[in-house]
Each structure stands twice: as structure tokens, then as C-alpha cells.
Amino acid sequence: MPLFPFSAIVGQDELKLALQIAVVDPGVGGVLVFGDRGTGKSTAVRALAGLLPKMRVVTGCPYQCDPASDPARCPWCSEAANRSVSEVAVPVVDLPLGVTEDRVVGALDLEAALTRGERSFSPGLLARANRGFLYIDEVNLLADHVVDLLLDVAASGENVVEREGISVRHPARFVLIGSGNPEEGELRPQLLDRFGLSLEVKTPTELPVRVEVVKRRSAFERDPQAFLAQYQAQEATLTTRLDDARRRLREVVVSDAVVERASMLCLSLGTDGLRGELTLVKAARAAAAFEGATEVSDKHLKLVAPLALRHRLRRNVLDEVGSSVRVEKALGEVFGA
């Protein structure tokens, strides 16, 4: 079944913003989406695949290395005689539930072993996700040790495999996107702040929005090709915009004043560590680039602050006041004065 187009998703602005920020600056560090069933979390994430600008890779490299990268860092490129270049779609790899660990990290190539008696490495999903996105639906149902492993690799950008007499080390830089439903069990709090951005999606309650969602979904299911054609132009525009934003990201100015404001915000919220501040500034810069601005302003900070900070607040899990409200309040205090 083809993918539902990103631009045809009704509402869910915060989710779209978070994903777009992650596309513009993969360094933001992953997105965690929690919410009710049937709110289109998975649809939005999978739709990304249709939206991403193409990337240049070394032809044949199982890790999709950037031709400009150092060949020595990749086990394939370092042995390749010549590195020709081709363009491929940015990978959005779905981590299926029940995936075995050897498929995630890679393992002995069984076929080579059986048929040729060779001991060689068969790259796993982490290799395939390099320079792209790795999506885990129902992240809260995934075995803890697999989640740990993924977060570790996501943070280090490198996958180290030591098993069955194989010793391989290959680049694995990807944006981790997790989604889940809190009713099915919650995510370990320790994992929460390993994600750069987090948000919660809700089922829309207004009738016109609901009608529109249902209409589009039904139209898509009935005739996917026609539906895709209808949104083709919008998708193309968005792709160009994301591509531009990506290119201009480094040129966007982040003034000291903005950094200071970000620090103040984190201070007043009592977030732990520097990760919150860094993510906040990075996300604001990506948002500015996406908007076409040349400089990060307070507006951008305000826009992304809930995304970047709400899961980093000192945990009071039973607080009736949602974290989003606390972030809003702090925003009012810092920017209002």
C-alpha cells in the first residue's frame, strides 16, 4: 500500500513541526510521540519517507555513506576500490515489533556461511537507517534491552558489533522516532530525556476537523494513486522547503541574547543538565531555517520550547498540571517581563 501524503494530514501541527525540525536538523536528537490510538502518529512518521529530499551516497555501500565522508570510518568504503556517487531516497526504516537483536545490529551472513563457508557480516537495520530515520511504533512495548541498544547507538552514531567471531564497527547516524500509547504502559522515565523532542497527540474533537480527516482517509483508501496525485504539488513544495532549510541551517544566526533567554527558560523550569538548553536552541534554529528567517528570534524559541522541554522537567509524575502547562507558564514569565 502506498504511503499517505504528509501534506494531506489534517491538523496535528505540533507533530508536523517536530518531524520537520528533525528533518532540517537531524542533530536535534529524535522525536517521541505519545497519544491515543488512531490519531495518525504512525501515518505522519511513515509519510516522512515520501517527503525527504534525496541524498548523495557512495554507490553500493550498505551503510549509505556520504561521498564526502572519511572512507576510513566505514568498513565497506575503506575497502572499496573507487567510490562512485549516486542519489537515493533518505531511508525511513520501520523497526517491526518482535524484531530479533541480530537483525537490528547485524550478524553473521547465514547464506554466505552456508553456501560458501565464509564468515562475513550481514548489516542489520541500524546500517540501513544510517543517515536516515529509524521509526519504532509502540516503543513502550519494545523489549528494554533493545531500546537501550538503540539509544546507545543513536547517541554515539556508531554501531559496534562483536559477535560470532565478527568484529565490525560502522557508522549509524539516524534520527530515532518513537511512538506509543500511554494506556499500554509507559516508557521508562530514564529514556524520556534521551529523546530530543517530545509531544502528545490527541484525537481532534471538532466535527469539521474530524469530517475532513475521515474524508481524506477514505479517499486515500479507495484510490491511493488518485489521492497521491492530488497532493503531489504540495508535497514537492514542502520537499523543496525542507531542502532549502537544511542548506541554510548553518547560516542562521543565533545571537547571544537568544542563548541567554533559552538558559533563563531552562533555569526557571529547573530542567536537569545542559541537554535541554542545547536541544532548545538547535530546535529553534531549525524552526527559523524552515520558516526562511535568517536569525533565531524569541518567536522561534516560544514555538519549540514545549517540544524541547516538556519531558525534561523535574519529574513529578503525579502532578495534575501537565508539563505543557508548566512550560507555558515559564514562557510567560521569561518572555512576558
Binding site: 553473521l108 565464509e118 560470532e164 494506556e183 504502559g185 475521515v214
Partner: protein, 592 residues
């Protein structure tokens, strides 16, 4: 309650239509969830389903505890080794492509299996990432789930939600089977045209609105209602959905999911939203003329009324139960937990890879890893020892043993006195303490359950869970007042504790009471003696307990009770949340 003759006929009719819809395009529909017990009624339904599928379409039966490799497929080790090439064995799901999967006892389905079924229903394909394989297999299928659950057991919500049609045939008399059968010709005709059926926006809007009025929250049901309306039109030989089709969809999809009755009079104010709505919309794929649209709009409220009336007919009769249903669906005991626990006990914890070594008693040889280890050396070994070409040579060095990590999880069971003597103020404090402990348990991923006793009996408010959201909801709803059935409270806490132990968790009972028992179980004993008897049972079963005496002036009686229980006694005239929490933590550490 035995349904009336009319009702029986209506239910059978709905069932027949549901099966016919499944026959038109099982994958487009998604599936049917049927509540019924094994017997002639169910057999008839399955018979119909078989009859209505296209010639040669598969209809495998899925055992509830099917293993993942059988479900999705995997490496066929025997054939792979025989041929020296990778041979993939297709699982049940890819094999059922183009047909229907029959799932009996869907209320007991393993959560992981349910998740795979959901993924297959959503994406119409199976992605295999196992044992060195990477494959995407087409998997267009519908699911016929047979829910045999007794009270409290339900098909996992995520799965139930993806099956548009919900039938309840549990009350139909097995001796009066209908003499009808699926009308195969119209199903076949419908199969050809269902892709071309269109639906007017009026009906989409009306279905969405009906869903809102019936308290059907999720959007998936509305999308499904539209799909069902279109398939129904195809079944009736129409290319345009009419009010009849929409009404059928409302009845089959929305009614059974209702969580409330719509207000008596369908609101008149729906005229204003539709024009404004019209302004926002992107141009519809216009195939209906403008004047036609005008005409449709005029009777939009009529359509609305028809749909609501249709849906109400299939709203479960027990209206009083309705309000509770939405909540029960979320916080009711889940079969999922049970399945998960059973799995853990057969496997002995979560698998944590394999290590090399000879299996000792109680350990399991990991065959796949062993063969993996042996595989690279086969050529070499054969050349040395000129053995049989087809035989694999496995040496002791190759042996791999599965490693499991058995994490002792604890299950903290709160048994809270909500009686009048415990007073409102105390109850609030107790809630505060429970919340504090919860917050800590949550961090350590313990399971938490909540029993409250007041009036005549004890009530399980919350089966063991890790979901904080549910606990919060539950606590907020806990009211106080009435007698103190202390014995009943201890008894149900103990039942829970033993249940938790059976699932391989370590239970800890936390009693919060002033120990002023004044209601006994129907045992003829005095309330106090009855409570003492129950307390002794706790000790006999060696269940750890913490007794928090909440009375303003701690009394000897409570201490005695705690001793009989073998519990750590803690007089807490002022329930200090922090102190309670640290005490619980210390005890769970001890028991674990």
C-alpha cells in the same frame, strides 16, 4: 436474559450482512469481531464465512499462542541446511494473503501476536526481519476474531479497534439456527464494483456527527463506518451510497461502540456548522452537480436522525452499563497481562542472547545460534573428515545456550480502608501516600494494584498495572464512607497477592487502616475475629505485608492484627507520604 424472537432475527441478519461484507473485500473491510461461545451458532457463522470467500481463498485458523516464526515466517532450518540455500518458510499471515484469518479465543491473544495482526491489517503486508532474513510479503487479509471471553476478559483494544464490525451472538439460542445463507451472487457482483462506489459528503459528515453523539471517540471508527457504507452499497448493487447504506454502517460500526446515548433530540444547530465548514473544504472530487448538493443539504438533518436511530438499535441494551464501559475498556483487567506472564514462565524470563557452552540441566540449547556457530566451518570440517555431505558437523565448541534474564518484579498491592471510621481527611492522606509510593514504584517499574474496602465488601479498584494514568484516574474516583469490612479487604488483597505470585512476581501487601473492623464476612464470626483469621492466612502464605495504622491513637488491636499477619507494623497517626514510601521501598528491596 433470553432475547426476543425479533431480536434473534435481527442479530442473525446483522451477522449475515457482516459476513457478506467480509466476503466482498475482506482486506478493505478489516474484519469482524464476534462475541460467542463455541457451539452451533459459532459453527454456522464460520461456515458462512467459508462459503462467502472467493474460490481458493485461504482461511487458516490461528492458535492464540502461535509463535512469532509461525505467524510471520522464518528460516526453514531443515530445508536451508539440506539445500545449502536460504529457504524461507512462510508464516500463517502471508499464507492467508487474499483470505481471512480465523482467530478463536481472541480475548487470550498474546499481545505481541495482536500487535502483528494490527500491523498486517494496517499495512496489508508483513515485514520480516528475523534470523538473518529481510523480506516484505504481501498480506491483504481480513480477520474473523471469535471472542469467548467471560466477564472482564476482552479482546485487546488495539485489535478490536481495527475490526469495524462487532457482533454479539453470545445470547442466541443454539437450537434455533436461521435457514438463511449468504447470497453469493450479490457478494460476487459487489466484489467487482466496490472500488467504484462513491459516498457523498453529507453522509460522511452525518456519520462523523453520529459517532461524536454516541461518544465514539477515536476517528478510526468513523473511517470504518464510511468504508462499511461503501461496501454495503456495493452489496446492494449501488454505485452511490444512500441513506440506507449509511444507516447500516451506523448500526454495524457505531452502535456497538457507543459509550453514551445521544441526547433525546438530535440537535438542530447543525445547520450553522455545515455552511462554514463548506468554506474551509478543499474542492471535493466533484462528481455530483451543485443543485444535487443543495438537495442533499436540505435533508442533512433527516439523514442525521436516520443514522442515530439506526445506531441506537444496536447500542448494547444495558444502558446503565454504558457509562462504565468506556472506562472498563481502559482499566478493566486485561487478558494481555495474563498472556505475557504465561510466556515469561515458559521461557524463564526475557531472552538475553546466547552464550557458548554445553547445556546444563535446566538450560536450553539455542539451536539457531548453535547452527549459526557451526555453519561457517562446515566446508572445512567436511574436507578434513570426508563425511556425509548432507550432515552438519556440530562440535562442542559450537554449542550455544539460551540466556534469560529473570528480573524479579514486585507487585505492590494497596489495601485501603475507605470506611466512615477512616474519615474523609484520612482518606485524602492515604491517597497522598499511595500516590507517593506509586511515583517511586513507577520509576522502578513495579506493578501496582489497589483494593478498597468499605460498606459491606472489598472492591478491586485496579488490577496490577504499570500505567500511571489509570492509577490516577482510579484514585480520584475513590469515595469514602460506610462500615469497615476489614476481613474482606485482607482477603481480596491476599487473593491478588497469590495471583501475582503465580505470575512470577513478588507481592507486597500494604494495609492502610485503623483496624476498627465492624463488618464480618458471612462466616458467623465477630468482625475482629474474622479479620484476625484472614490476617493469619496472609502469614501462612508468607506474603510480605506492611501495616500502616492510620488511627489517631494507635491501639494494641492493630498491632496484634499486624503481628498475626506477619506484617511490619508502622503506626502513622499522620500519614507521612515520604515515610510510607521509603518503608515500602525498603520492603520491596527485601522481598526481591
Amino acid at each position: 436474559m433470553i432475547p426476543s424472537a425479533d431480536e434473534i432475527e435481527v442479530r442473525w441478519h446483522d451477522a449475515l450482512v457482516a459476513i457478506e461484507l467480509l466476503g466482498v473485500d475482506s482486506a478493505a473491510l478489516g474484519g469482524v469481531l464476534v462475541r460467542c461461545w463455541p457451539g452451533p451458532v459459532r459453527d454456522r457463522l464460520v461456515e458462512w464465512a467459508r462459503a462467502v470467500l472467493p474460490e481458493g481463498a485461504p482461511m487458516p485458523r490461528l492458535p492464540v499462542h502461535v509463535t512469532e516464526d509461525r505467524l510471520l515466517g522464518g528460516l526453514s532450518l531443515a530445508n536451508t541446511l539440506k539445500t545449502g540455500k536460504i529457504v524461507v518458510e512462510r508464516g500463517v499471515l502471508p499464507q492467508a494473503d487474499g483470505g481471512v484469518v480465523l482467530l478463536p479465543m481472541s480475548e487470550r491473544v498474546d499481545p505481541l501476536v495482536a500487535a502483528h495482526l494490527c500491523a498486517a491489517l494496517d499495512r496489508h503486508q508483513v515485514v520480516l526481519e528475523r534470523e538473518g532474513l529481510t523480506q516484505t510479503l504481501p498480506c491483504r487479509l481480513g480477520l474473523l476474531a471469535l471472542d469467548e471471553g467471560l466477564e472482564g476478559e476482552r479482546t485487546p483494544l488495539a485489535l478490536a479497534e481495527r475490526l469495524p464490525l462487532h457482533l454479539d451472538l453470545s445470547l442466541l439460542p443454539p437450537r434455533r439456527l436461521p435457514d438463511t445463507a449468504p447470497r453469493l451472487e450479490r457478494v460476487q457482483l459487489a466484489r467487482g464494483v466496490c472500488g467504484r462506489v462513491t459516498i457523498d459528503d453529507t453522509f460522511v459528515q452525518a456519520l462523523c456527527e453520529a459517532a461524536l453523539q454516541l461518544g465514539v471517540e477515536g476517528l478510526r471508527a468513523s473511517v470504518q463506518a464510511v468504508t462499511v457504507a461503501r461496501l454495503h452499497a456495493a452489496l446492494e448493487g449501488r454505485l452511490l451510497v444512500t441513506a440506507d447504506d449509511a444507516a447500516a454502517a451506523a448500526r454495524l460500526v457505531l452502535g456497538p461502540r457507543a459509550t453514551r446515548m445521544p441526547e433525546a433530540t438530535p440537535p438542530e444547530q447543525q445547520a450553522p456548522p455545515s455552511p462554514t465548514d463548506e468554506g474551509h473544504e478543499p474542492p471535493p472530487p466533484s462528481n455530483s452537480g451543485d443543485d444535487e448538493r443543495q438537495a442533499d443539504k436540505a435533508d442533512a438533518s433527516d439523514v442525521q436522525e436516520i443514522l442515530l436511530a439506526a445506531a441506537q438499535a444496536s447500542v448494547p441494551k444495558d444502558v446503565l452499563e454504558l457509562a462504565g464501559r468506556a472506562r472498563a475498556a481502559r482499566i478493566g483487567p486485561r487478558s494481555a497481562g495474563r498472556a505475557g506472564a504465561a510466556r515469561a514462565s515458559t521461557r524463564g524470563g526475557r531472552p538475553a542472547g546466547a552464550r557458548s557452552g554445553v547445556p546444563q540441566p535446566g538450560e536450553r540449547l539455542n539451536l539457531v545460534e548453535t547452527l549459526r556457530a557451526a555453519a561457517p566451518w562446515q566446508r572445512l570440517r567436511r574436507s578434513i573428515r570426508r563425511g556425509d555431505e548432507r550432515r552438519i558437523e556440530v562440535r562442542q565448541d559450537d554449542l550455544r545456550v539460551s540466556r534469560f534474564v529473570q528480573k524479579m518484579e514486585s507487585s505492590v498491592i494497596f489495601c485501603v480502608d475507605a470506611s466512615g471510621s477512616a474519615a474523609l481527611q484520612r482518606l485524602a492522606e492515604a491517597k497522598g501516600a499511595v500516590e507517593q509510593v506509586l511515583a517511586d514504584c513507577y520509576v522502578r517499574r513495579d506493578h501496582v494494584a489497589l483494593v478498597a474496602f468499605r460498606g459491606q465488601s472489598a472492591k478491586l479498584l485496579l488490577p496490577p498495572t504499570r500505567s500511571l494514568a489509570r492509577v490516577k484516574k482510579c484514585l480520584a474516583e475513590l469515595a469514602g464512607g460506610g462500615g469497615t469490612p476489614l476481613a474482606a479487604g485482607i482477603e481480596s488483597a491476599l487473593t491478588l497477592a497469590l495471583d501475582a505470585r503465580a505470575k512470577g512476581r513478588t507481592p507486597l501487601i500494604v494495609m492502610m487502616t485503623d483496624a476498627r473492623a465492624n463488618v464480618a464476612r458471612p462466616s458467623g464470626k465477630s468482625p475482629d475475629d474474622d479479620a484476625l483469621a484472614c490476617a493469619r492466612l496472609v502469614r501462612a502464605q508468607q506474603v510480605k505485608a506492611l501495616f500502616l495504622d492510620t488511627s489517631p491513637r494507635p491501639r494494641a488491636k492493630a498491632k496484634t492484627l499486624a503481628d498475626e499477619m506477619g506484617a511490619t507494623y508502622l503506626p502513622l497517626p499522620r500519614l507521612d507520604a515520604r515515610r510510607v514510601s521509603s518503608q515500602v521501598q525498603q520492603l520491596t528491596r527485601e522481598v526481591a
